[in-house]
Symmetry: D2
Subunit: 337 residues, 4 copies
């Protein structure tokens, strides 16, 4: 049994992580950390954990956390997370960071998009980007895993194999993504007030969303030339799920069948990525760690549809998948069905 701590357990990602770890046969939840509360039972914050997890939220120091846990999941906001991780890692724990802090390898790019200096720039080189289907070997030996963003997961799984196969051009790539509202977190905001978000649909962060450079970085790893995507996120009146519709230009005359065959081949041994005959829908993967994909040739262009659950495959599920990789358990442990 590996003793684990969750920092920032009061949000939506923390909740999903707790549900997954509660049924993990090799994980023991030893500490729930929150900077804002003092020994509040977790079931007060998350009534859906009533009778499931009987621990309080505690305001613990890094040293106290490291005494209780070998592996720490950080669900803190960016900046705060790196500050915490910078104190935890020297104490010998492994960290799976669900914030954005260690995803971008370049501290300047981070500063440009996140509008503050990176709190822990030296670790950007050793942190591993935790998208198992694309970076599995690096993850196995990591101490610090940067859990990927939800939109980047949906986009990278759709496009990386086609870029790697040289089937699509690195430019132009349009990624038109649609997310359920839980992706915006648990803090009430005017535009996320129920009567505002319900029966509504909107684009946001056009040209300025922080997941854009993260997508660029991953796709560039699989492309002969740097990739700079046009990424547009949208808010869908539903709680969970992301669907990304990705548009690219083929490098040669490829058919729908060739596109899907390339994706199928790339993911043939993956338990969580499936290429489906029918166009996938968010409901097909909701509450699971799976990603479903389908490609189409449309009027000479290439289109790939990708769906994930933003809180599972896009956050907590990926974190548990990385946890399984770090400790050598089957990757599907606690994640299936």
């Amino acid at each position: 049994m590996i003793r684990t701590a969750i920092i920032g357990a009061s949000g939506y990602t923390g909740l999903e992580l707790l549900k997954l770890l509660a049924r993990h046969p090799h994980a023991q939840i030893s500490a729930l950390v929150s900077r804002q509360t003092e020994r509040t039972p977790i079931s007060t914050v998350h009534p859906s954990l009533t009778g499931v997890i009987d621990l309080p939220l505690e305001n613990l120091t890094p040293v106290q956390i490291a005494e209780r846990a070998e592996c720490v999941f950080s669900c803190l906001p960016h900046a705060a997370s790196a500050e915490m991780c910078a104190q935890l890692l020297p104490l010998g724990v492994k960290v799976i960071d669900l914030s954005a802090d260690y995803r971008l390898r370049d501290a300047d790019v981070y500063q440009q998009w996140y509008a503050h200096k990176h709190p822990d720039p030296t670790r950007l080189k050793t942190a591993v980007y935790g998208l198992p289907e694309l970076y599995r070997e690096q993850i196995r030996g990591a101490t610090l895993v940067a859990n990927p963003g939800c939109y980047p997961t949906s986009a990278a799984l759709a496009l990386a194999p086609l870029l790697k196969a040289g089937m699509i051009a690195p430019e132009p790539i349009v990624i038109d993504s649609k997310s359920g509202v839980s992706g915006a977190g648990r803090d009430p905001k005017p535009h996320l007030h129920y009567p505002e978000a319900n029966e509504n649909f909107s684009a946001y962060g056009v040209g300025s969303h922080r997941h854009m450079p993260e997508i660029d970085q991953t796709l560039s790893d699989f492309s002969p030339q740097p990739v700079a995507v046009v990424f547009t996120p949208h808010l869908v009146p539903m709680t969970r799920g992301i669907l990304s519709t990705c548009y690219a230009e083929p490098t040669r005359d490829v058919s729908t069948d060739e596109l899907n065959a390339t994706l199928r081949k790339f993911y043939e041994h993956e338990p969580f990525v499936h290429v489906t005959d029918q166009l996938p829908t968010v409901r097909d993967v909701a509450y699971t760690n799976r990603c479903h994909l389908a490609a189409r040739r449309v009027r000479g262009h290439v289109l790939v549809v990708s769906v994930i659950d933003n809180l599972i495959k896009g956050a907590a599920g990926a974190a548990v998948q990385n946890f399984n990789l770090l400790y050598g358990w089957p990757e599907t442990t606690a994640l299936s069905p």
Copy 2:
């Protein structure tokens, strides 16, 4: 043309009122008042008024308001509204108050339920409760109309005729009401955050909701004995509408047909209240000023289902209906279809 001002125009009730007044042939909107903003265009606060109303929100004094308008609609919160009305009324304007301040005739009952002393208790005697179908004659001559609460409207229209006819006993009466989330107003709150309210259903204010004494008061007006209802509001994952399921005990052996015939007779000349053969649904009356009703005898008990749009018949539409009554225009002006 009657010059009107709307105070507290930035909320949901204010928005609906503006839409209705914008198409009213005898109303001119001369001032939009907000205590919080300084000359913000109303279309910034309500983008759905773009190209419809081109006025700014202004922070005006009572004197300035009275110079601009003959009739004032107050959408302020309770307490604040009575304080404003107490200053406006001596200046010679008519006021339709959409807050709860002048609904209860007894200042002690008000203090008990609203937890503060009434700011303007002497006017409680002259204010008229603005439910036209039940108090039409008093409204015509009023200077201060207390626009009814949304739940009380749905409940009173369902039960008053049966109490008046002596068909149901004043005790016990259970009113199980279900409302869309817009009834809770426009301020973001944790339990109204989209991912919390969506795919959820909850009871709230059990035994303590402020609409309970308001329902008591109206039903008691139509009953030989005082009425004290059990009223339970619930939050429905939708934006608009209220359905109230009302349970009462018959005073004699009445049939479904007799119940509905009594309701039909009571409302036979009413343009906005309809007794339907099928059970009514919220969608039947959404975005209208109508109330649909249907009664049933169930195992010897009496059940009445009532539906309204909480923001129209339960607020802004009733206010315009009262406005029409105050000035002698057809009651349906600007309210149909």
Copy 3:
């Protein structure tokens, strides 16, 4: 490992059952039976089972089913289910029937409410009503378990302990229930078409819903006198969950605290029933096998709020809980968290 078959696996209850059984350590899914399809992969019918269950739906005879499975879950519609069970049981299998066919003990009551003669009346005496918290001992030794209805589960768990304690009178009892749309099954119907059910709320089956006599029967088991409730179901614009607001008259002057203490005592060893301090909401129990309860005294009357997931505790989860009881495994197996 117990070999299991699911008949009628293409509906919503079947889907939830499959997800639960797929993670059950002692269950093997050996056959998926459907009368309408011929060897369709289950993932075509339920894309959310892609990569989880790799079996086809098959049109099997009772004999074929009994060869493949020791325990059969029937998710067939009523009447069809009893016809199938009547053939399966003599072949030596155990049956958990999720239809309504064996819930009512009296074939005449069945005929009156279901409008056809019972297809297998002699087994009504040996079938056990599978609500573990109320009938656990009988279930352990059963061969045929009648899995309870969703509304009856929510109502019986709320009221049975208070009736048994003599705290509430058997008459009048009002059960005002609100259910997500999945409770109506997977067949498209005009009033369940998305644009009709969305942003809508309605009562239905007033005085005529088939769960009414089922609630009567269970509550009568815990009452000195027969109980005849007023039960009103409503349709909520959400997919899953039931909230029942139950109103009863106290037999003496009981407080909120006494009511909740009685419920807590009754359920103190139950893993799935929790009495909460805050009013429970549907979201607290969605996707779980739990029931949350809270009682309140309101103006001298008694009110109990009860929430369950209609497809889990109200159907598939209860079936697995019964399965665990039949075979002596811990009741929470595959059901937690």
Copy 4:
């Protein structure tokens, strides 16, 4: 007063049309035609018209319709609509056809996309495409108006001005559109069953949607070269509204400001099209005849977001706007606010 008939009044478009015509000062609704029903009161089919329109649905012949009405709105399905129009027009009535039958000018293109021979090909030359902001002058003198599709309206209003100004290239153009479910009509279908469409999001008709050639045709009218767009519609879990995110390549180095200035100039006298500073959302235009637009330059590419209410500006509202044009009334009659 112009006497009007509505054919196919039982669907969602028919309902919206009836609500708009009921408040039109120059329109008299003289006949509601349905092929399927025999003198059903319209309020049975649309309970929301209770007390608003008191006419029956009637199964009338073309001759009977022409006797009752000078102007006919056809909401029939494609093919059926052209067959009806071909009989009505020789009888001297004007027709506003809300089906797709007269939108495409080329009968071969129609046959290719609608998979049947056009029933009335000779009138394709005289029919006028009824998008007032782009074809106003032709509409004024028309006898047969082809009311545009909902998606094409949202896309054409966004892109036509930029194409006409030579600011964007005719190729590649990606139109990623998202629609509420009412766009799919009132007939229940499995994927539109509430529990399937709710909490879901999906792409459909990828590369094959019939609105694609319609968009091509309109944009080609404003471009020096033929346009062939990549159009992908998606289903949003909401009832009403369309948001289209349109991607194009600039012909030169244009800024966000230049793009919006071009759109503003093009629509400066239009009552229903507004270019907004903030990104528009579906809620801003729901239940109105307006289109809100905003353009952005993103990494050298051009993006335009467009929102409409699919049933109003995308169907019934546009039909009334065309009706106003045909008879010379102010275009906003019955359409504002």
